[in-house]
Amino acid sequence: MYIVGRILEIKRLTCRIKAFTVEVCERVNTTPGQFMMVWIPQVGEIPLSIAYKEDRLLEFIVAKVGRVTGHMHDNLSKGDRLAIRGPYGRGFTLRNVEKCLMIAGGYGLAPLLYLSHELKRRGTEIDVALGFRTREDVFYTNRFDHVADHVWVFTEDGSYGIKGMVTEVMKKHVKLKDYDIVYTCGPELMMFEVVKHCLEQGVKVEASLERVMKCGIGICGSCILDPLGLRVCKDGPVFDGEVLMKINDFGRYWRCLDGRKVPIKSRFNS
């Protein structure tokens, strides 16, 4: 069933991204990498990663991309109610991680923000690389300050931080072998590059995927990855890199609402 939440605060982070802090009526047990299905009555319901959690407060970072996210940006305000169900899915590995690297693209930083705070509590050493298109897209880098040992910020045009793609961090800025694990979330082509490189270097890597989600609980079949038949909502959204490399769809195909596959480039851009 749904848990009812009330919006405590909405922060405009960039012109496309807002953060919603929601107070829910009961405590929920969550782990970083899990998502919630968020329902705006008479508008729709979408999956959102938990970007931060404290007691009965949940934070969501929402990029304006379409109908529901558009409504959230344009019409929701403090005090409004929404209903959420979840948490759903399998999150990131938390155990036996002494040192990790996080590579995020755009709002992909959402689950990694929550993850970084959780790992910090466990004493993990954390390095973070955040990538954005340009200066105006940069947000929340400071939220990693207290938990990460290093924070690299990349912009494609160099208008802020380091110029270049965030994936370059693996190749130029760190010694990948120093990390027990690399976590990544962002545009799928970016994640594809990260996963491929990490595995080539023999470093464990986990990525959080997105697909169209209807049920969110593993029965409708709209989020299936071929050819392993994995469900992003239930078996993911976080997958191990080794598994992802066996998935033809990864980095290549997305499924539309009707279930047909389309090449990922045509729809996916950060």
């Binding site: 209903a83 049920c215 409708c220 299936i224 539309c256 609402l257």
Partner: protein, 309 residues
């Protein structure tokens, strides 16, 4: 596995290693998940219901989880038969168990077309899901009018020689009347039941949760309704057709109950949410154990036993 041989059945000429069937609409969307579910031990797979044209389905929310079941209104989202033919072919190449393709539509000619395409692509059986609003029926469900049901089934029967399953809705005054019409039309197997029309309203947001407002109740809540429907169908039509019992099966007991009521095989849907994919193996083991304990040599002997005086 303990006594697993005795679980195998023949269903309208199809050989199933055990009587469990993946119900339509639950995960049967791609060859890859079908393969995975086959590995979990299921006896046969039903695909999601396929229409002539692709359908996005209803916008989210499309499912509400309750304590004792689900209410869903996915809205027959599917890629359309043109695309799905490839999925069927891939599945047939990879699967060793029978593949039942579920077909839906609001017009007879569409239903016949999709059925033929599916059969040609290699489907081992066709299942007609008649719970679509019928275009000519002015919004009424095709499956609620015995005359229309007979007509649809007959039309498909004429053009498809594969075993023909008809899925029945419990949202009718007499499921036997509809079952009879399907049998008269030439159905080999009746599948009972589809979901029960229902609604969930959020008391704080004060709106029906599903975007379609109305949805279908499945899971444990409807199990005693499914048992009743299967029992009624077997009592009245047991000599003419075989029955697949579906509705709220979560344990081997639930499955056996439907078989005692008259089902030759048992569909599993919502249980996957609550018990995971391992539910197939659990039920199979439980049924095998039951057969031994109760001294049956084959699951066939259990079919319809609750009718014996």
């Amino acid at each position: 596995m303990v006594g697993s041989s005795s679980l195998s059945i023949e269903l309208s000429g199809l050989s199933l290693r055990n009587p469990l069937i993946l119900a339509s609409g639950i995960l049967g969307t791609t060859f890859s998940i079908m393969k995975r579910i086959e590995a979990e031990g299921v006896g046969a797979i039903t695909t999601k219901s396929i229409t002539r044209e692709p359908r996005d389905g209803y916008p989210n929310p499309v499912v509400v989880e309750l304590e004792y079941g689900l209410v869903n209104a996915i809205g027959l989202s599917n890629p359309g038969i043109e695309y799905f033919v490839h999925e069927i072919k891939l599945a047939k190449r990879l699967l060793k168990i029978p593949l039942i393709v579920s077909v839906a539509g609001g017009e007879i000619e569409d239903i016949v077309y999709v059925s033929r395409r599916a059969a040609d692509a290699g489907a081992d059986a066709i299942e007609l899901n008649l719970s679509c609003p019928h275009v000519r029926g002015m919004g009424m469900e095709l499956g609620t009018d015995p005359i229309m049901v007979k007509e649809v089934v007959e039309s498909v029967r004429k053009r498809v020689s594969k075993p023909l399953f008809v899925k029945l809705s419990p949202n009718v005054t007499s499921i036997v009347e509809i079952g009879e019409a399907a049998a008269d039309g030439g159905a080999d197997v009746l599948v009972a039941i589809n979901t029960v029309k229902a609604m969930v309203i959020d008391v704080y947001l004060k709106k029906p949760i599903l975007s379609n407002r109305y949805g279908g109740l499945s899971g444990p809540a409807i199990h005693p309704i499914a048992v009743r429907c299967v029992y009624e169908l077997y009592e009245n039509l047991g000599d003419e057709v075989e029955i697949v019992g579906v509705g709220g099966v979560e344990t081997w007991r639930d499955a056996i109950e439907l078989i005692l009521a008259g089902a030759s095989a048992v569909g599993i849907g919502t249980a996957i949410v609550r018990r995971g994919l391992k539910v197939f193996r659990e039920i199979i083991q439980g049924m095998a154990h039951y057969l031994e304990e109760e001294g049956f040599s084959s699951i066939d002997e259990v079919v319809g036993l609750a009718h014996r005086r």
